[in-house]
């Protein structure tokens, strides 16, 4: 039996009308697909259209050409199969943690008792039960991101789209959150597309890493991560093969030579 495809991008191209100037192409003919329960990381230089791809998958943007498919259905707008999570926790300050977790389920009209039960289970899974009645400003950054992750899972999506979810928290909190995410995705049997700038995060969390080029963004490499224990990124960090993967990603991203390339621009700024 062939593995189920959860999320697929087919020849997706996105052009933006660049504010009166000539249009620019953010992503160009991107095609890839994700199997059920697979975690794929998308890395690439800033402005290469990673977030654009994510927004297309979430149905927030319509591609100029090609299409995204979720669970075999063409994405034509926001849909209940996918849920997004961003770098900002986007918790609503006037809602308690519990009410924030319920936000998406409430919008989608999930029955009150059902969404409550689901939210309670998620809060328990993220060690947030005792903070259910707290307001966001009373939480630490790590707790806020966990609440945001719980909110994303509360709508029971089949695919999670995560846009640099941990880049705003400190390094130690990030490691804990990475472990929580890995465990949760394993336990809930979810498929996830993760955008990150952290190469180590990409390697330790994913089954597969896709590398994008500079704008117009294309997929220029695909690396299968053949490491055990996907639900334990902290253990994976210790694996001897990790450095090899990171080195290959650095090579593909041209890290090292970019420093030389940005030098003239920096000099230009000095002269102003």
């Amino acid at each position: 039996m062939p593995p189920t495809v959860r999320l697929e991008y087919r020849d997706v191209t996105m052009q933006f009308a660049g504010g009166g100037q000539k249009a620019f192409t953010a992503v160009s003919e991107v095609s890839f697909s994700m199997r059920d329960r697979e975690i794929v990381s998308l890395i690439g230089p800033s402005g290469c259209g990673k977030s654009t791809l994510l927004n297309i998958g979430a149905g927030l943007l319509a591609p100029s050409a090609g299409a995204a498919f979720v669970d075999g259905e063409r994405v034509t707008g926001p849909n209940a199969h996918v849920a997004i999570m961003l770098q900002k926790d986007l918790l609503l300050p006037w809602r308690t943690v519990m009410e924030n977790v319920l936000f998406g389920a409430e919008i989608q009209g999930v029955a009150r008792d059902e969404r409550r039960a689901r939210a309670q289970a998620l809060l328990a899974a993220f060690n947030l039960t005792e903070f259910a009645g707290h307001y966001p400003y009373q939480l630490s950054g790590g707790m806020r991101q966990r609440a945001a992750l719980a909110r994303t899972l509360a709508v029971d999506p089949s695919v999670l789209l995560l846009d640099e979810p941990f880049s705003a928290v400190d390094a130690q909190t990030r490691m804990v959150l990475q472990r929580d995410l890995a465990l949760t995705l394993q336990r809930e049997r979810k498929t996830a597309l993760l955008i990150t700038h952290d190469l180590l995060e990409a390697v330790t969390l994913s089954d597969r890493v896709l590398v994008m080029s500079r704008r117009p963004g294309r997929i220029i490499d695909e690396i299968e991560i053949a490491l055990p224990e996907r639900d334990n990124p902290l253990a994976r960090r210790q694996d001897a093969k990790v450095q090899g993967y990171v080195a290959r990603l650095m090579d593909r991203l041209d890290i090292g030579s970019t420093a030389d390339r940005s030098a003239p621009r920096a000099a230009g700024q000095d002269s102003v």
Partner: protein, 265 residues
């Protein structure tokens, strides 16, 4: 306990505030006499208190205060409701805002109290021109604050709601409306004090009821204590309005850290 120092500070501040009041009242009572200021310029405290009692019995002080308070309340409620509605409509329709902004700006710059004689010409010596001046004066701070708040809602929040398949109405009621409340309350606070200004100017210009009327009546009779009593009562009406807004704000915005909320100054 980390709370103790803050409590001590508050208690110290309150004590200083109370002693300042005593000093002020003493200076008011005996200061004019010491400095040789005639009582028709600055009547001492006891004289003003006697006058207040006399006005209570003879001039229907309570009735006039009630009329002014009623006008302030009506003007404030109508003005802030209209300000909020226009703020939301303009905030959600950039085209309407561009089309209307020059006129709104002109109206905002025009001194609203200058409309008082016009409104009295239109509506006679009734309570309506006074309410209308208050409506006009309260409208702008509320509208501008709501408009700005709606315009500055984090687009990522709106996108999050959209990604959850929120309808336009859901986005408004679950995201835009709640996030506009803190700035709206800032506008309401300003409006609550300005409403008194609008009403009293209307009463000064024409009519035979309200504290503004007593104010000009006292002036006509060169009754300085009466003017003082009227000013004090107007301040009282304004304070009640302001405190009411603050209390409502505390209830509604209870989710905000205490330091972000307005304090009773």
């Amino acid at each position: 306990m980390t709370l103790a120092p803050a409590n001590v500070l508050v208690r110290r501040g309150a004590a200083a505030s109370a002693s300042l009041l005593v000093v002020f009242l003493v200076a008011w009572q005996w200061g004019p006499g010491w400095l040789g200021i005639p009582t028709f310029i600055v009547p001492p405290l006891s004289m003003v208190a006697d006058e207040a009692l006399r006005m209570w019995q003879v001039n229907h002080l309570l009735l006039h205060t009630g009329v002014t308070a009623g006008e302030v309340l009506a003007g404030f409620l109508i003005g802030s409701l209209m300000g909020a509605i226009f703020g939301y409509l303009l905030g959600m329709s950039p085209t309407a805002e561009v089309a209307l902004s020059p006129y709104i700006l002109a109206l905002q710059i025009a001194p609203k109290v200058a409309f008082a004689p016009l409104f009295i010409l239109w509506m006679g010596f009734t309570v309506y021109p006074k309410i209308l001046v208050a409506v006009l004066i309260v409208f702008f701070p509320v509208m501008v604050n709501v408009l700005t708040a709606v315009r500055t809602v984090d687009p990522d929040l709106v996108n999050l709601a959209r990604a959850f398949k929120a309808t336009r109405a859901q986005i408004f009621w679950k995201v835009e409306f709640p996030s506009s409340l803190p700035p709206m309350f800032a506008g309401l606070r300003i409006g609550s004090t300005l409403a008194v200004v609008g009403v009293v100017v209307g009463e000064l210009v024409g009519g035979n009821a309200g504290l503004g009327y007593l104010l000009s009546f006292g002036e006509g009779q060169a009754n300085t204590p009466m003017v003082f009593v009227s000013i004090l009562m107007l301040t009282l009406v304004g304070s009640v309005a302001y405190v009411a807004v603050i209390l409502a704000e505390r209830r509604v915005l209870h989710y905000m850290p205490a330091r972000m909320r307005a304090t009773l100054q």
